[in-house]
């Protein structure tokens, strides 16, 4: 099954690789500026370059095995992710209010869990076609598949990643045949139940506690501060930007977490409207390209997997850019392929490797 067919090489998706490489490259240049220290290669750059080489290996590994074998590995992979999540919950120390790192901060199982979840869901919907799902109760089992990892991530108090995982899982809902009326019914009942619970059941201190959980920025001003600074940084970029390493907001470190969650504001300040639109366009093409791969797939497992993989890029992009532009609340979701962060980069590259795998094997049968 490892036989390297010449056709595979001919069919390799160079376009996808180019898109990914461009985003990663811009991200690195941006990181270099955001963490710039005079006269030395700083720690963050060194670690990110190391993660990138690891990610490259992961990407190649994802290409090797014919994706159709993944279906058999889907459930074990999903189970391993759940076990890792549970282990984290039991043994990992609490850092910055949440508890999501294993092995001294080198592995974030919630990142892996996103891939485990889409593998498991793709397998499920491969066997139970989405087109045949017409009633709400048909969603019971896939719902459970999605909620298990989400629940474990919520228990780690990592609300950003939990929300992300939930959104990724629910991408598949767009393809079901459940009628609009059912959805409206669900929404009405759900909202009514939540309001009743909030107003009549929960005591004020419980309400506050829930709000505290929903807003993990324990410092009451930190989110407002970040939003203001981010706005100033983006705005001061203007049309053409201040130029590389010339952004005052960035270079004077007014932006907190400017190399992780707010990396895009650094780009917007230094490269202006032109640069930020350029990067956004790269993401948009990447997403549409991924959907094209899904459409060209010859089997439904591949098509489903491609949709899932696209959603692992789509949702964090929407949440992160929305937050940076002051359109969404400040929740700590990094920009995939772009922000500083090893675990996320390696898993993203692995996921995109799978997408290339799907793409180059589209003619193999």
């Amino acid at each position: 099954m490892f036989g390297i067919d010449r056709r595979l090489f001919q069919n390799f998706d160079w376009m996808l690789l180019l898109l990914v490489a461009s985003i990663v490259a811009v991200g690195l240049v941006n990181l270099a500026s955001a963490t710039h220290v005079e006269d030395e290669l700083n720690e963050e750059m060194r670690r990110q370059l190391f993660s990138l080489s690891l990610g490259g290996v992961a990407l190649l590994a994802a290409l090797l095995i014919d994706y159709r074998h993944f279906e058999r590995f889907a459930l074990p992979a999903y189970a391993v992710c759940l076990i890792l999540l549970a282990t984290t919950l039991l043994f990992a120390p609490v850092t910055r209010g949440s508890q999501s790192w294993l092995f001294g901060g080198r592995l974030q199982p919630s990142e892996l869990a996103k891939l485990g979840l889409i593998l498991a869901l793709a397998r499920y919907f491969h066997r139970n076609p989405l087109g045949e799902i017409q009633r709400l109760r048909d969603l019971g089992r896939p719902g459970l598949i999605a909620l298990l990892p989400v629940g474990l991530i919520v228990a780690q108090r990592d609300m950003g990643v939990a929300l992300l995982t939930l959104l990724i899982g629910s991408t598949y809902l767009a393809f079901t045949r459940i009628s609009w009326r059912s959805w409206i019914g669900v929404a009405v009942v759900g909202v009514a139940a939540l309001i009743t619970l909030w107003m009549f059941v929960l005591a004020p201190y419980q309400q506050r506690r829930i709000l505290d959980v929903v807003d993990p920025g324990r410092d009451p001003l930190s989110s407002g501060y970040q939003a203001i600074q981010s706005r100033i940084a983006i705005g001061s970029g203007g049309l053409m930007g201040t130029g590389y390493r010339a952004g005052t907001q960035t270079q004077l470190r007014f932006l907190p977490t400017q190399h992780t969650d707010f990396a895009f504001s650094v780009l917007a300040e230094e490269w202006g409207f032109v640069g930020s639109c350029g990067v956004l366009t790269l993401y948009l093409i990447l997403i549409l390209w991924g959907l094209r791969i899904s459409r060209n797939s010859k089997d439904s497992f591949g098509a489903l997997l491609a949709v899932g993989l696209v959603s692992t890029i789509l949702w964090p992009v929407i949440l992160n850019i929305g937050m940076v532009l002051g359109l969404a609340p400040v929740i700590g979701v990094p920009l995939p392929l772009f922000s500083y962060g090893g675990s996320a980069l390696v898993t993203s590259l692995f996921g995109l490797g799978l997408l290339m795998n799907l793409s180059m094997r589209r003619y193999t049968f």
């Binding site: 919907f125 203007g238 004077l252 359109l327």
Partner: protein, 641 residues
Amino acid sequence: MSDEEIGGGRRLVGGVDPALTRRLPIVAAVMMLPFAIFFLRLFQLQVIEGEDLGNRARRNSVRKVRLEAARGDILDRHRRELATTRPAFGVQVMPAELRRRELTLTALGSLLDEDANALLERVGTPKGRQRFVPVRLARDLPYDAHTRVESHLYALPGVLTDVSPRRFYVGGEMAAHLLGYTGEIQREQLEKRSFADYRSGEVIGQSGVERRFESTLRGRAGGRNVVVDVAGRVDEVLDEVLPAPGGAVVLTIDRDLQHAAEAAFRPEVIGGPAKRGAVVALDPRNGEVLVLASRPAYDPNAFAGGIDADTWKQLTEDAALPLQNRALAGQYPPGSVYKAFVAAAALEEKIVDPKERVYCPGSFKLGRRTYRCWKRGGHGAVNLHEALVGSCDVYFYQLGLKLGIDRMAFFGKGFNLGRRSGVDVGGEAAGLVPTRAWKERRFGEVWLKGETVSASIGQGFNLTTPIQLAVGYAAIANGGKLFEPRILLGTLDADGKLSRGPGPRRLGTVPVAAEHLATVTRALEGVVHEIGGTGARARIPGVRVAGKTGTAQVVQIKHTEGMEDDEIPLEHRDHGWFAAFAPVEAPEIVVVALAEHGGHGGSAAGPIVNAVLTRYFEVKAGKAAPEEPVPAAEGARVVRN
């Protein structure tokens, strides 16, 4: 392996779900929608508002200032301050904003009375991101030094002043062990889930009341986003969340009595060099703790701004153990104070006729060993009452042998000895009431009769803490009710309204009938008021006091035989105990005092009890106004990091 085998599922090669293919274009269109919004938003921010926001960035920027919350006060039962919060004035330097570094720091040095070179060295020449991390030069400046800096701030770019709340223990050493101290949160604490909403550097209660009631005392920090100009001066406040101060904790402690108890630990009061010991006073009607003192003590104010290594080392290595709370964690043989419980046990078990007399020649022989009575010449013929009044050891040796060790232990435990009392501040030691089974387990040896003899006068293996004895004596005083001692009276809300803590909690009833306790109480009154009683030092005019002295041996008599009191090395001197309650007809206060290595109970601990009772009844009779003892505060000073 063929393709057919690979898929494994129902749908195999070629069968893409038609629902998927049909919906994909719609889904793609929906996915493009947020991107369209992003492009528009970028256009708005960068092209339309760009110039405006760019100016704001150039005009220097928004800075976040954290506003620390004041910790809640700790008050005594009459709402008098035990611990409060005062402002501490500090100075920081932002290296990136310093201009003419040497000149600025030299000027600052002269304002702070500090050596300019030392300041230059502490600020250093940080590079990169470090230039934006403020360096703290002073945490707790005297008010006038702070004013001097403040009024020259315009000429000192890069120098920042701040005011932060700082813990202040009103009485210095007063009730130090009970109140505990605060300090920066430890690394290990930060990693625990229960401290998830703390940030590093935050101040947290590390012992005593400060730790136990941390969640009430801790406030909620606020902050503000401010626009600062080039010189670091605040131009405009954008958002502000005011800090919410912590809630006040009201203790059952009476500050006045606490002060009296601690002041009594002076050579001129206790007539000896002993400065170590403990005092516990309780209300026997409900278990509320009025006094909880331990000596020697330390000044928790030294911890408030981070203690320096030398002071800490000195405190932890001091042989007198100033950090130990002797009232709760100090375990000592009870000595003759224990006799009241032995007497109650014998009465309940009906193995003694209170009228029957036993002859005390000054010693007692068991087998080949001779056990001495403390009174060399002997007490002569004494009954139970007289034996307690004169603290006759020989009488109790025989009583103990009749009871046997296990029965004695049953009653000892019945008065809550050898067990943590459950006082709500925590940090207690359990003490020990020995039994046959315990010795078997602990040493694998059988119990010896001679050990029963020692146990009957509270020697041997017996270990008690001052608070245990206070609980036991409170039960004698109140007719047999055992109360869990309480420190917390309640908490105050923002309007100063008291919400009471949990009320008195009964641990149970002692296994002795009230009439027998009354018999014991009559004898204890005799200890203080009759001729020949050992506790005359606790007498106070106009009040009937009941009490018992105790002198706990630390080493065997042969080591100190024939020595004058002041020749005996301190560590070999006896511990003096005194346990008392008053007024006898309706007891309101129990006081237990321990003078560690203080010598005889009557002379060493009696005056301490006397001081507390005197103060209590003077204030009660209105003869003395409750004073406001505010011992001199430690002067504020420049603190180095």
